[in-house]
Symmetry: C2
Subunit: 207 residues, 2 copies
DNA sequence: GCGTGTGAACCTCTTCACAGCG
DNA sequence: CGCTGTGAAGAGGTTCACACGC
């Protein structure tokens, strides 16, 4: 890395490149070019090269990038080379979807624990994991300094859960709840905003 | 509208403003200021005013913006004033989550139909909707020129479903499947990328 | 010849600062 | 006096075009 501050948009594209590379790897491709990423991700090939050279010179003139090496490099930049410990708060439909179906997909992530407040759900098996009580969050994450929590609880329950998470040392949260959440400085918070994506589609649909 | 081309990022923020306004409305607030949006959405107040003046002069100096009027204006810009017809392809956990739980949340959207290929799911009731066979897509959407389809099917099934959707006249798709999807020109396609959000959190977590 | 790496030009978005109106 | 609307300045990201290495 060249010591530059890197923007979210660049990191987002690195994540896309990683996904393409896993795909290329599984298809047995040895090398890819910036033009390949360009077509797959819908950005200019110059932008791809700029993104990558921001962290080093990974390519070879004339041939392109080695799939395996570049994937290793990008995963080590993202920090996903040793995969983050991810827990899910809420064992409803979203929690189940994350565990069971293709939501993790080509992303390379997997989930380590799932929690719910509802005592009727605690103890149930779900895609190999047993639903735990929220009281067990702290002990479950002990030893994992950097872990990510996914908030997927009922509407109105978000802040309560987030408070517990923060209390257990959480510093990164991905929320499916749209409620505005209070968090202290130093905690990363992102949202999955289905309704905003629908708004965008609605707006751009009319040519 | 002043005839300018508006960027995705601006529309995304309008969607956020709309969400804030629904919240303010439900709390009985009469007016809000650009500073209010600024705090709630984490952007500068100047940016808020720039966004809004791009479509007209909705504010009053000294007092701010009328909540009801501004919400009307924004919804009419987004096109959500008469809400889009939205269908869900896939009655698995994600489809159910969309229908049942808070995913629609404060977004103001609702879903009109849900489909699955699995004959065992067809006919099942789900949050008031009966799961239909994919063969019924075309007849279900007839009469709705602009409709949005949400793709939430098993991994590997995405393209098949998208082809059917396109065939039925669909021009806007929101996919939870991360597979790269082939679509003709003129069709809007967006993805919900949980794994990319997790990558972003992983990267930015380490201070 | 092909594809990377990169300075320079270009463009878009954001922030600043302030005039003007309620 | 408070807050909007807005030109001007600034920052950041993207595209261009080309030299260089394979």
């Amino acid at each position: 890395m060249k010591g530059r501050k890197v923007s979210e948009i660049t990191i987002r594209r690195l994540s896309h490149y990683a996904r393409c590379l896993r795909d290329a790897k599984s298809k047995g491709e040895r090398t890819v070019t910036s033009g390949y990423f360009s077509r797959r991700c819908g950005i200019s090939s110059a932008a791809v090269r700029k993104d990558l050279t921001m962290f080093g010179e990974f390519g070879k003139q004339g041939s392109g990038y080695n799939v395996i090496e570049l994937l290793d490099q990008i995963e080590s930049i993202l920090g996903t080379c040793d995969p983050p410990f991810i827990i899910i708060a809420g064992a409803g439909n979203i929690g189940k979807a994350l565990l069971e179906s293709g939501l993790e997909g080509t992303g390379g992530h997997s989930y380590s624990a799932i929690f719910d407040i509802d005592p009727r759900l605690v103890g149930i098996k779900c895609a190999g994991l047993t639903v735990k009580s929220m009281d067990e969050i702290r002990t479950t994450v002990s030893g994992h300094e950097n872990f990510i929590a996914i908030v997927a609880v009922s509407r109105g329950e978000g802040q309560k859960v987030v408070d517990r998470l923060i209390d257990s040392g959480c510093r990164a949260i991905l929320s499916f709840n749209l409620e505005p959440l209070d968090i202290p400085d130093g905690v990363e918070l992102r949202y999955i905003e289905v309704s905003t994506e629908l708004d965008l589609l609605t707006y751009f649909m009319k040519t």
